[in-house]
Subunit: 404 residues, 2 copies
């Protein structure tokens, strides 16, 4: 039987274990060439990279050990009658998808894979979950919003499109955290806030009909919170370790898996508002409509120990018409810092790189790195509060009833 | 429905894909500092290490895709009646254990973990399989050999001891391949012969009552053979890539998983005779009863382009009594090359390192590296033939009937 108390206890244990293990492995990571130099510090110290693999492994060990604790009492009863086979196999498949993502994330950190792999890897890692979903449930109906019911009826069977949606959600969740990153504590901090939001949502939904879905999610989210909190302590400003793509991928897949198999993927998207905004704001650079440098991190100003927005400079005439339009519109709306210069008949344009990290720095000016992280995590927190406030009224408005 | 033809077809596809992928990733591995220098060559070329991660990932992708092919037709029937829930969840758990081992093996190759981890990692990776076995079957009876039935009865319930046995088998299988390694093509070649032996055994047992167990095994063994054959082409003398601990661990776990969940672990041990002999022969050095150098590879003689047995030299008086006994006995039996010298009252002893690789070189003298690999693979092949010859008579003798 799933017990929140036991899971919470094991999650605290997982956190304490992770907290002690990370420093022990640091030396090994540096020896193995797995380190980065913190660009926003003047020290030039080697910081171990990809330590998300340590938190991931502790997470897996704990969730493996929880299997018999959760399911063994079914053995004592008449087995074939009550055993929740589908839930059980989904749980193992969820673990398989997460392990897969951890492996592929770590391979990415080690081998420095190309951009196209970043889309391929989460698709591959989500395969077990999708395959098992197909074999066990294959429920692809969605409830139609009230406005469209006249045309479509109350529910629509999406079929293969539903699998595409689930796959895309996994790809989005893994990469969305990865592109809102780069300053101390941000990846891990935002993931922790999302995880806590999911936990609160699960805990407040336990009384409903879908109790088992929310227990399913808590099974993973609690140990995730335990290990991630431990990582955050070491990753907080000034970072002694970096979490790496390993952590971002693993986190994204965890969120995708619990929300898909827990049937609350729409609610999850509400917790991802900052990531969605950052993704939309980044689109012109991600799709190379506007020139994009390799790194879009804020720029470090050594004299004042602050960071300021980083910019890209391009030849105005070489920018495509759509790019020019985007620059003009965003600039008019106050969402882009733009400087146009003409020197010797050569017209250049300089604009801040399109991440909400730089956008915050545009609005508030240069600030200390830690303040920037706190501001961004504040945004994440406020968005979670908003998500809780709008979720139920929104569901009522769209679907006429509370839909989970 | 499981189809051998479809699985074989996909396995060939997996092999072709692996064959083309490995060279594409080679450059990346070297850039990431994942390479070794071949000690038995004079070229000093950097050879990519840990490429087992590529074959492992292709293997996983193919076995993931096979899930709906194998199980989806149950969906069309009355679901709860016939769906083989326990087999299905064991299949997913088997994949989870293998993925876990691939991750941990790769982490070992990258981070160069310590010896104690080499025992810990396979234990951890076998957890999902053991946990799921506990929840789904928890069958721990073993049939008692005829001789002991007067005392113990026809079967004995081993309880937790059975789990210890399964865990130890996983630890043994993963490490046994890893310590019979070090010359071009040996790890991959021996694994391939074991896999083919398992396949033949499964195919010849399909007509019996335990058909589903053997199909279960074939589900994994065929894609394993496909990907491993492709790896062997690149790993054969002179190796263009090394397979790494990643491959040895992954292979060992694959064998452990299919034989445990396929209920033929005793038969598997027959295919592991060379590894068992090598393990027993290595024991004095592994347990430091006799001094053991870091590497026990054969020694390369550049002038003749051959390899010869490597030796360890130690002070005779510093060797423990048990060690002296072992040296004397093995030497008398002709299984150890020993040279004792006395210079200036200092008595030293030189003996070949205790691996069957060096033992072959003791018997046949220095030979070309490729000939050595072929000889060792010949031993592996002959042992497999022997295993098939003794298996049925042995089972009859011990258990009075054919027991699978």
């Amino acid at each position: 039987m799933f017990s929140i108390e036991v899971t919470a206890g094991l999650s605290i244990f997982a956190g304490v274990l992770t907290y002690h293990l990370i420093p022990k492995f640091s030396e090994m990571f540096i020896k193995a060439n797995l380190y980065g130099i913190d660009l926003n510090k003047s020290s030039g110290v080697k910081v171990p990279e990809a330590t998300g693999v340590v938190t991931g492994c502790v997470f897996l060990m704990v969730t493996f050990l929880m299997i018999p604790l959760t399911y063994s009492d079914f053995l004592l009863q008449d087995k074939n009658e009550k055993f929740p086979h589908e839930e059980f196999v989904q749980l193992i498949a969820a673990l398989l998808s997460m392990t897969c993502m951890l492996l592929l994330g770590f391979a990415d950190d080690v081998l420095d894979l190309r951009w196209r792999h970043k889309l391929l890897l989460p698709s591959m890692a989500s395969l077990p979950m999708l395959m098992v979903y197909y074999v066990t449930e294959n429920r692809t109906e969605i409830v139609v919003p009230l406005l469209l019911r006249g045309i479509l009826g109350t529910s629509v069977k999406l079929g293969i499109l539903y699998y595409v949606y689930m796959g895309l959600l996994a790809v989005f969740a893994t990469n969305a955290i990865n592109i809102l990153a780069g300053i101390n504590g941000l990846e891990v901090g935002q993931s922790l806030i999302i995880a806590v939001s999911v936990m609160v949502f699960n805990l407040t939904s336990l009384s409903g009909l879908s109790r088992s879905y929310h227990e399913f999610s808590l099974y993973f989210i609690l140990p995730y919170i335990g290990t991630t909190t431990a990582l955050l302590v070491h990753n907080w400003y000034p970072s002694k370790v970096f979490a790496g793509d390993t952590f971002c991928y693993f986190s994204g897949m965890t969120f995708a898996v619990v929300s898909i198999l827990g049937h609350f993927s729409k609610t999850l998207l509400l917790f991802f508002i900052p990531q969605i905004l950052n993704f939309l704001y980044s689109l012109p650079q991600l799709f190379h409509i506007l020139p994009c440098p390799r790194h879009r991190l804020p720029k470090y100003i050594k004299e004042d120990d602050v960071v300021t927005m980083s910019t890209t400079t391009a030849n105005w005439n070489e920018i495509k018409p759509l790019g020019k339009l985007i620059i003009n519109v965003l600039s008019k709306l106050g969402f882009l810092h733009v400087i146009r210069k003409e020197t010797k008949g050569n017209e250049t344009v300089q604009y801040n790189n399109l991440t909400i990290i730089n956008l915050i720095l545009k609005f508030y000016g240069p600030m200390h790195e830690q303040s920037l992280t706190i501001t961004l995590l504040g945004v994440q927190f406020v968005c979670s509060i908003l998500a809780f406030m709008v979720r139920y009224p929104l569901a009522h408005l769209l679907f006429g009833e509370i839909v989970v």
